[in-house]
Each structure stands twice: as C-alpha cells, then as structure tokens.
C-alpha cells in the first residue's frame, strides 16, 4: 500500500509542482492551502508524511507542527518543514518543535524525493 503524503502550502504553483512530483513517485497525495485546512486534512486523510510550508495564512507551519506533536495519536507522523526563509533560527525552531526534517526552498526535486523515501523507508 502506497504511503500517504499531505502537501500544505499557500502557493498554488508550488502545490502543483509538489503534487505532481510526489504522485509521479507513486505516493498517495492530498493538498491543503492553509494551516487550518492542514489539520482537518490530517484527521481525514491520515497521512504518513507532511510536506509543510512555514509561511501560511491563518495558521503557520510552526503552529500546525506544534498542534500535531501535541497529539499522541499522531506520534508516528513524519513532518518535513518547507521554508523560503533561510535563516538558521528558523531551521532550529522547526527542528525544536518536532519537525523531522527541514528543507529550504527552492529545493532540488531529486534530493527531496530521496529524503522523503528515506524517511518513509521505501528506498
């Protein structure tokens, strides 16, 4: 059974590219365009891994991450933070609140795919 990935980003074009990329690699993909929608989709879609943008309207990626980590039933959920802000503090903050990986935009599609597969243990 294919792993499920939820893509969360407010930039439609980035969502398009990520969705296409992940589907091509054979993952089952769902999309959310803001933080609140993301939390709803996690509950409904029950993904194995989250590609989570930081800068989003309504609820930022950090807030979504924190909320998910506070839920013990979701402890197995993998979270990959995506951010266009390259500052070290952002990376540190993301990892500190429980993200499993941190990827800076713009990213290499190849490397992202490798990283996701690695984390899901499908390599």
């Amino acid at each position: 059974m294919a792993h499920k990935i939820l893509i969360v980003d407010d930039e439609p074009n980035i969502v398009i590219s990520l969705e296409f990329l992940m589907k091509k690699e054979g993952f089952e993909v769902a999309v959310a365009t803001d933080g609140e929608e993301a939390l709803a989709k996690v509950a409904a879609f029950n993904p194995d891994l989250l590609l989570l943008d930081v800068m989003m309207p309504k609820k930022s990626g950090f807030e979504v991450c924190e909320a998910l980590r506070a839920d013990p039933t979701r402890s197995g959920l993998l979270i990959v933070m995506l951010t266009a802000k390259g500052r070290d503090t952002e990376v540190a903050k993301g990892l500190a609140i429980g993200a499993d990986a941190y990827v800076t935009k713009p990213f290499s599609t190849k490397e992202l795919v490798v990283k996701v597969k690695e984390m899901l243990g499908v390599a």
């Binding site: 930039e11 074009n13 980035i14 990329l21 091509k24 800068m55 951010t83 713009p106 990213f107 599609t109």
Partner: protein, 903 residues
C-alpha cells in the same frame, strides 16, 4: 595759696595713685582674678573725654552754643550698633588683633604695607592731638600759677617738656610693664576707669559750684543769657548749622571706634563681650553728665568775665579761682590733668604698638633678620622698641606743641584728628561686611582719603597758622580756582570739616570700591576676608587649620614663640593650648596645621598679624595654597551643596542620556530587526517563485516523457513566475531607491485629471475582462500640480489595479473622483469590495503586507505597490491613506498640494 611744690606734689601723688590702681589691676589679672568688670570697661571708654572735653567744651560752647553736644551724641548713637562692635571684638579676640592698623592689615591679607599705611595716617593724625593735651596741661598750670602769684615758670625748665617726660615715663611703666609683649593691659584699663571718675567728679563739682554757688541755678543763668542778644544766640538752634551738626555727629560716631585709643579700649582691651551691654548705656550716661554743665559754665564765664578777655578754654579753672575756691580749682586741675594723662597714656600705647608692630618690626625683620635670628629672646627687644616708640611719640607731640603754640593748628586739632581716623571707616567696616574688598582697594581708599584730608584740612590748618603759604587755600593750587583747598571743585558754603569729610569720603569709598572690584585678591586675602566677614558663623577652627598646609617641627615653632613671648609666657600658653587638645604636656603636641595656626595667633598678639605671618613662614615649609583652593576650602559648605547639585544634575543628565541611548539602541535594534525582517521577507518573496520555477523545470528536464498538456501547463507557470520574479525585483529596487532618496524625479506641471483619465484608459481592458464597472468624476481640465507625471501615473495604476483585484467580478464597481479643495487636489479611488478593518487600513501600507487572505491572483501582488505609492505621494508633499469598513468597500485617497498662487 598754691605753691608750685604743692601742685607738683599733688600731681605726683595723683599719678602715683593711678599707678597703684594699675599695679593692683595687673596683679589681679596675673592671679586670674580680673578686676575688669562691665562697669570698669564702660568707664574706661571715657578716655574719649580728653582735656579737649574738660577744658575745650566750655570754650566751644561760648562760640557755638549747643553744637559741642554733637561730639557726644555721635558716640551715643554709634555704641547702640552693638552688633558691629561685637563682631569687631570677636574678630580681634579670635586673631589676637593688637591695634586698628593690625585689624585692617589682617583683614586684607595680613599686609605689612597696609599696616604701615594705617600707622602713618594714625600717627600724623593723632600726634597733634597729643600735643593738644600737653598744651592743656601747660595752660592749666599757667592759669594756676598766674592766679596764685607765681607768674614765672617755676621749674626753671620748660614745664611742658617736663610734663611730656613724666607722661612718657608713666606710659612706659603702664603700657610696657610686662616683659611679655601681649596686647592687653588690664592695669591700665583700671587706671583709666579710675581717672574717668575723677574727671567727671571734678567737672561736675565745678559745674555745680558755678551754677548754684556763683549764680542762682540753671534757670538764673539761662535767663541772663536770654537777656543779652549776644548770649541769647547761643541758645538758638541755628538752621544754617544743620549740615555741620550732622557731620559732627557722624564724625564723632566714627571716632569713638576708630581713634587708636578708642579701638584699643573698646576692642583690644575688652575681656568679655557682655561688658558691652553695660557700656552701651553707662558710657552715654557718663557723656551726658559731663556735658550738663558745659553750657551753664560757658554762660557763667561770659557773664562773669564780661569783657575781661579771659580765655573761655580756662573757665573751668578761672571761675573757681575768681571766687577764691582754690581747693576746687585744684580739683579741676587734677581733673584736667587726669583727662590729659588718660588720653596720652592710652593713645601712646596704642600708637607705640602700631609703630612697633607695623613699622619697626617689618623693617627689622627685613633688614636685620639674620641678626634677629641669633637672638634667643626677642621679647625684651620688643618691649624696648615699644618704649622707644612711646618716648618718640611724646617727643613728637612736644615738638608739635612747641611749633604750634597758640596757633590755629592746635586749637582745631580735635576735629582734624577725628577726620583723619574717619578715613579708616570704609576699609574697616567694608572689610567686616564685604568680602570683595581687596588689599589694593583698601590701600587705594586709604591713600585717596588721606591725601584729600591732608589737602583740605591739615595743610590749610598749617596755612592758617602761617607756617606755609595760604595760596592754595585762597586762590587754589597753582592758581587753579577749582583746586581751592576748602572749596574743592567749587564746593563752597560748607564748613571746612564737612567739606573735608565729604570729599575725602567720596575719594576714599570710591577708590576702595572701584579698585576692589577691579583687583583679584590673593589666597591669603580671600581667606582673611572670609574669616572676618563670617566670624559670627560657627567656629572656623577647622577651616583655619585646613587653610594651611605645610611641614614644620614642634621645636622650631616653640622656639619662635619663646623668642617673641619670652620663655615663661610661651610655655604657659603652650601648656594651656596642649590641655585644650587633650595632651598632658605641650611636648606631645603634633606639629600640625592647627598648632601652627595657634602659634601664629599667639605671635600676632605680640607683634601683629602681618609680622607674625612672616615669622611663622620663616620656620615652616608652607605649601602655597592657590586662591582657588582656599576659596574651595572656605566655601566648603557652599561647595558641597554645589557638588550635590551638580551631581544631581549630572545624574539626571546621565539618566536622560541613558534613556536616550536605550531608546536609540531600541530604535536601532528595531531597525535592525526590520531590516532583518525585510531581508528575510524579500528572500522569502524571491524564493517562492523560484521554488516553483526550479521544481517544475527540474521535472521537465529529468522526465522528457511528460505529457504535452502538463508540459504546457508547467511552462506557462514557469513563465508567469519568472515574470513575477522580475516585477518583484524591479519593485524592490524602486522601493530601495525611494527610501534612500536616490530616485530620479522629473518634476513639472502635471494635469492630474489627465493622469487619472489615462490610467483608467490603460487599465480599461483589465476591468472589462473581469466585468467590473469603472467610472470617473474628473474635471475636464486640471487641476495642475507640481509633480512627476510618470510617478503619479504609477500611483494611479497601483490604486486602480488593487481595486480591481479585490472587487468581485459580479457587480463590482470602482469609481475615481478628482477634485480641488483648499490648497490641494484630492483623488479618491473607491471600490465596493469586501472592505478593510481599521487595523488593515494601516497595515496594508507596510511592505510585503498584502491585502486580503485569499489566494486570488496571489502571484500578481508583490506587497510593495502601496508602500511605493505612499512614498511617491509624500515626496510631492501629499498624503495617501485608506478609509474603509468591512463589507462597505474601500476608498484609497491621496492628496497633492496645489502650487501656491503666483502673486
């Protein structure tokens, strides 16, 4: 019958009695049981009443009526100023002042020059006064012997010379009996008090005898006077003498303190300040009593000796003798002798102290210092100098008497002396109350006053005596009219005393003040000024000690004291001082500043403050304290206050500076954070389109088998994102230019209505595509403003494209209105979109804040349009803001000022 021998014996007996009183007084003083009570002190002040009073008052009354009273009313009023006298006494005691010269010199920086100057003025002014006493005694002897048939000079010698010699010896015995030279003479004070009683009793006795024995009482005498037109004049208070009257009160009021003998008695010889409370009324009472019978005696004499040409100055003797009351005449003679003796003794002691300390010592210290250094005990030398000075002063008095004879210069000398010593008043009182008075000022004032006195009073008196030509009095010096000695600068119509007092005080006070204000005191002057003026404030011992810094040895200072005070007295004083400092033996005393100060004060009591300072300086290594430093120390209280004020001020300043710094720092950090945020935001904004572009192009690049539709879609996105990226970069650069002020502007007259219309036209297509209505309310022409046309168009387009972005395609409506109002053009772009909250109205002008939360047309906005527009409008002097309420659409309004109408 009065034999010469009898008179001589009686005189000798009387002088011996005085001497016995003095010995008794000294003995009591040595035992520490002073006989100087308040009463004795008050009576000793009556040394003021000399033979000039005893004989001369009656003489004055025969010509001037009641005006002789001024000489006694002045002192009465002056003594009531107890505060001033107490202050003088306090200063003199604290610093062991020995004379008025010492007082003035000490105040102005212990100046030997000033001490010498005051001494010279005092000697010149007072020696004739001493001569007057000799003359009085001689004249009274003449009267006695003439009346008793001994017309020839009995002694075979000049009797006056003998009197002078006797007085000199007597004074030496009185004033310099002690081997130790100190400033006080308690025995002498007691003797003076005694002789004061004698002269009062003698004068009153004569007065009573004449008034009630020879005439029928006061009423009878005055009625006789009223009957005669000539005598009646004496009882009138003549308005024309008003000026003289006041002058004499002032002059005598000053003399009661400033005459060397008065300063000696009132200030130097005072043993207890509280004695002054008795003197303040008892001494005036004495003056009143001795004056009651002056006018009756004058009238009695004039009536009795009508036309006989008897000298009115001898009425006190001649009236009793005329009635054969020889015993009373002898009492009167003793009274007159007493008055003269008392004056001569005290005056000569005071002057000799001044001459010794302020003229001789400085010269000796300077010229023969090395020799002096070798002498072990100088107290003997001091006494010797004083004795010589006494002899010299009396000799001078005698010479003056011989030279003057009956001349005017002697008769008028009382008031001339008063005027001379009055010259001390400005520097003395000024010095006690005015810290700014300087040594230079004091010297200038004294010199100026003295010269005017010399020229307008003393020299004319010489001229009247025929000793010198009177051209300078009659025609003026060198024939210059306004230099006439007694009508200086044409000031006439005054009596000579008033004239002199007026001009000399003018010159004196003027010079003193002007020179003082224009000279800088040295450190010693400044500290002395402070000490004198502030003497009544708390003990200044601390300050005194701190005002001296240096090194010395106990031995050197002790040796100095022993040499000038004598070994016994020096040790006695040292022991007493050691005990006050809690040492059992004076050898344990530390050679510190306080000790040196004590030694200098002790020494000042012997040789005057100026010489004492020189002597002390010779045995210690003094560190010079600068004027600033001295003032600092003296003004410590003020200083501390000033410091704390300054500190407080500094602290406030520091706090303010700190707050400012903190604020600046805060602002900087805020700016830093903003810049950081800006860069971070810019990075984010740039990376976002880049992310899509990179991801899509990588996928296209790696998988050539991508379906054509996807490939087209992706390429479309890539092109759009690349465009967005370009736009973004352009706007960021634009923004940066605007913010740094490096943007280029081409400013000219712009028809703002035209700009609005053109902008609407160029965006017409966009509006039509979305189905949004666009209408305008714009004047056909103008208004014209000064602006950059392209920039203004940029603003207009930005506002219109924002509006079209946020209204819905269905029923959306945007309207533009351009209107001129008071001094400016107002442009409104209103839409009927979702509207903004008040908070959003403000926030949307921040960089990278984008309106709305929707994803609608997101790639189109960069978040820089509004901030750029605002910058542009503000550059032209206008404003740009938004007015809106949620659900009611939004209006973006900007104004641009109209150019000022040309005149």
């Amino acid at each position: 019958m009065l034999s010469g021998w009898f008179v001589a014996l009686l005189s000798a007996a009387y002088l011996a009695l005085l001497f016995a009183v003095a010995r008794f007084g000294d003995a009591r003083a040595d035992n520490g049981r002073s006989i100087i009570s308040a009463n004795v002190y008050a009576l000793s002040l009556a040394v003021y009443c000399t033979s000039w009073t005893f004989f001369g008052s009656v003489g004055r009354a025969t010509s001037g009526g009641l005006s002789f009273l001024t000489i006694y009313i002045g002192p009465t009023l002056m003594l009531l100023c107890v505060g001033t006298i107490v202050k003088m006494i306090r200063i003199s005691k604290t610093y062991r002042i020995t004379s008025i010269a010492d007082f003035i010199a000490s105040r102005y920086g212990k100046s030997q020059m000033l001490a010498g100057l005051v001494t010279v003025i005092a000697v010149i002014g007072v020696v004739p006064y001493i001569a007057l006493q000799l003359k009085a005694v001689a004249a009274s002897l003449d009267v006695l012997f003439e009346q008793s048939g001994h017309a020839e000079i009995f002694w075979g010698l000049d009797s006056t010379f003998l009197i002078a010699v006797i007085l000199a010896l007597f004074t030496i015995l009185f004033g310099t009996r002690h081997l130790d030279a100190t400033e006080r003479h308690e025995g002498m004070v007691a003797a003076i008090a005694f002789e004061s009683v004698v002269k009062l009793v003698a004068f009153m006795a004569v007065g009573l005898f004449v008034t009630y024995g020879m005439f029928g009482g006061l009423g009878d005498l005055f009625q006789r006077a009223t009957a005669s037109p000539e005598l009646g004049r004496l009882l009138q208070m003549d308005e024309t003498r008003a000026g003289t009257w006041t002058t004499l009160i002032l002059l005598s009021g000053l003399a009661i303190i400033l005459l060397p003998r008065q300063f000696q008695i009132i200030v130097v010889e005072n043993v207890d300040e509280s004695h002054l409370k008795r003197a303040v009324w008892l001494f005036p009472l004495y003056l009143l009593l001795i004056n009651i019978f002056v006018l009756p005696l004058a009238i009695g004499g004039l009536v009795f000796f009508d036309g006989q040409g008897v000298n009115p100055d001898t009425f006190v003797l001649t009236l009793p003798l005329a009635r054969g009351a020889e015993a009373l005449a002898l009492l009167a003679f003793i009274g007159g002798l007493s008055a003269a003796t008392g004056m001569v003794i005290v005056e000569t002691i005071a002057l000799s102290t001044m001459v010794c300390n302020d003229l001789a010592m400085p010269l000796l210290l300077r010229s023969r210092w090395l020799q002096l250094a070798k002498r072990q005990d100088l107290s003997g030398l001091l006494i010797g100098i004083r004795r010589a000075a006494i002899a010299l002063i009396l000799l001078l008095g005698y010479i003056y008497f011989r030279a003057a004879g009956e001349a005017y210069a002697l008769v008028g000398i009382g008031l001339i002396s008063f005027s001379a010593v009055a010259q001390f008043a400005p520097v003395l009182f000024g010095g006690m109350y005015w810290k700014q008075g300087t040594r230079a000022g004091a010297a200038a004032g004294l010199m100026a006053g003295f010269i005017v006195w010399l020229y307008t009073l003393l020299l004319p008196s010489f001229a009247k005596s025929g000793w010198i030509g009177n051209g300078f009095v009659e025609q003026g010096l060198f024939g210059v009219e306004w230099l006439k000695a007694q009508a200086l600068f044409g000031l006439s119509g005054m009596d000579e005393i008033s004239h002199c007092l007026w001009w000399s005080m003018f010159a004196n006070i003027g010079s003193y003040i002007v020179v003082s204000l224009n000279s800088t005191p040295d450190a010693v002057e400044a500290s002395q000024a402070e000490r004198f003026v502030d003497i009544m404030r708390h003990g200044r011992r601390d300050a005194d000690a701190r005002l001296w810094r240096g090194k010395t040895s106990l031995g050197a200072v002790v040796e100095l004291l022993e040499r000038f005070l004598g070994v016994a007295r020096a040790r006695q004083q040292l022991q007493a001082y050691a005990e006050t400092r809690g040492h059992a033996d004076w050898r344990e005393l530390p050679a510190d500043a306080e000790f040196v100060h004590f030694a200098e004060v002790e020494l000042a009591g012997a040789i005057g403050s100026a010489s004492a300072r020189v002597m002390v300086a010779s045995v210690v290594q003094e560190e010079d304290l600068g004027l600033e430093e001295v003032l600092d120390i003296l003004d410590e209280a003020t200083q501390v206050r000033a410091y704390s004020r300054e500190l407080e001020f500094k602290q406030r300043e520091l706090e303010a500076a700190t707050a400012e710094l903190r604020e600046a720092n805060e602002r900087l950090r805020e700016l830093d954070r903003m810049k950081d945020d800006f860069i971070s935001t810019v990075t984010h904004e740039l990376r976002t389109p880049l992310t899509s572009i990179r991801a899509l192009s990588e996928m296209l690049h790696e998988d050539p088998r991508t379906e054509l539709t996807d490939r087209k879609r992706f390429l479309g996105i890539i092109v759009n994102e690349a465009e967005r990226l370009t736009r973004l970069i352009n706007q960021i650069l634009d923004m940066a230019k605007l913010e740094s002020g490096r943007a280029e502007w081409t400013t000219g007259e712009v028809d703002i209505g035209e700009v609005a219309r053109e902008s609407m036209d160029s965006l017409g297509q966009l509006f039509r595509e979305k189905g949004v209505a666009l209408d305008g309310d714009i004047p056909a022409h103008g208004p014209l403003v000064l602006a950059d046309r392209d920039r203004l168009t940029q603003v207009m387009i930005n506002l219109l494209s924002n509006a079209v972005k946020f209204v819905s395609g269905d029923g959306g409506r945007v309207s533009v209105k351009v209107a001129a109002e008071a001094g400016r053009v107002r442009v409104v772009v209103a839409d009927n979109g979702p509207g903004l909250t008040a908070e959003e109205c403000a926030v949307i002008f921040e960089k990278f804040r984008q309106g709305g939360n929707t994803m609608t047309d997101k790639p189109q906005g960069t978040g820089l349009g509004l901030p750029i527009s605002r910058q542009i409008v503000e550059y032209f002097g206008g404003n740009l803001w938004a007015e809106s309420r949620p659900g009611e659409g939004a209006s973006f309004i900007f104004t641009v000022p109209l150019p000022a109408p040309e005149a």
